[in-house]
């Protein structure tokens, strides 16, 4: 059970939150090509190391926020409110 620092609530057990994966940027659906859209949908960097990811503080403040987490060690740093 890792600890995730919610920028509003402070440190919380990860079971109180929902991991939402790597932060991706949503292309403009009006203009995006299918290939751009599917890259957004499916392709992931999936690095072993620091990644910026989104979390939802489900049992706490119900806010989405981002943190940086090292996927090799589960260390976290820099949590930011959305």
């Amino acid at each position: 059970m890792i600890v995730v620092n919610c920028p509003h609530c402070g440190p919380r057990n990860s079971s109180d939150l929902r991991p939402c994966g790597e932060v991706t940027s949503r292309p403009d659906p009006a203009t995006a090509s299918l290939s751009e859209w599917r890259t957004y949908l499916y392709m992931r960097e999936n690095p072993s190391g620091w990644v910026t990811e989104a979390w939802y503080c489900r049992s706490g403040c119900r806010r989405y926020f981002t943190i940086e987490r090292n996927t090799a060690t589960n260390e976290t740093r820099r949590s930011e409110a959305s």
């Binding site: 509003h8 079971s15 489900r58 049992s59 403040c61 806010r63």
Partner: protein, 191 residues
């Protein structure tokens, strides 16, 4: 509607240990009003307390900073209209009466914290959850809003959850209290 009884989802009367170390009672009829107010609105300024804290207003309403930009106001049963009206709705402010939507119970006594520590992973030590602290978390796998609200000189918590979980949560807390001597009321179904 004075003649229509307000029914709580909690089917059981109070549960307590004979030595008073822990007691549990249904407070669902309490008026509960949620206010959302954007930063900079008069309502936000009036409500005053930041997220995580609470204060007792002069009119007897307990104002809790339940989330960033969200307050829950607790008052005696039947005061919803009045409490809602007390909020300045100028700007992007919304008021929702959730009295019917949330079950509420009070846990108190010297063993209340130990009992909650069996079902809730939040650090309830005095530094981390002092009297007046407002927080949310999972209690026996149900997301709850909690308020540490010491009462009659005893440690006490007000716990509220989505109404439909109310009976389950009460029964589960009652079960957790048996370790401290509480007797389960007959017919209380734990699962």
């Amino acid at each position: 509607m004075p003649d229509i009884e307000f029914k709580s989802p909690i089917a059981h009367g109070p549960v307590s240990a004979p030595d008073g170390s822990v007691s549990l009672e249904d407070e669902t009829s309490t008026t509960k009003v949620v206010v959302r107010a954007a930063t900079g609105t008069a309502a936000a300024a009036d409500l005053g307390v930041p997220y995580g804290q609470s204060r007792l207003r002069a009119d007897g309403t307990l104002v809790c900073g339940t989330r960033p930009g969200e307050w829950t106001l607790f008052a005696a049963a039947g005061r919803a209209t009045e409490v809602a009206a007390s909020v300045d709705t100028d700007g992007f402010v919304n008021v929702v009466d959730v009295t019917h939507g949330r079950a509420m119970m009070r846990v108190s006594g010297p063993k209340a914290t130990a009992m909650l520590a069996k079902v809730c992973d939040i650090d309830l030590t005095d530094d981390m959850a002092p009297d007046g602290a407002v927080f949310s978390g999972s209690v026996a796998k149900v997301t709850c809003d909690l308020l540490r609200s010491d009462w009659r000189g005893e440690v006490s918590y007000l716990i509220s959850c989505e109404r439909s979980f109310g009976n389950y949560l009460f029964a589960t807390l009652a079960d957790a209290s048996t370790e401290f001597g509480a007797e389960l009321p007959t017919g209380l179904d734990i699962h």
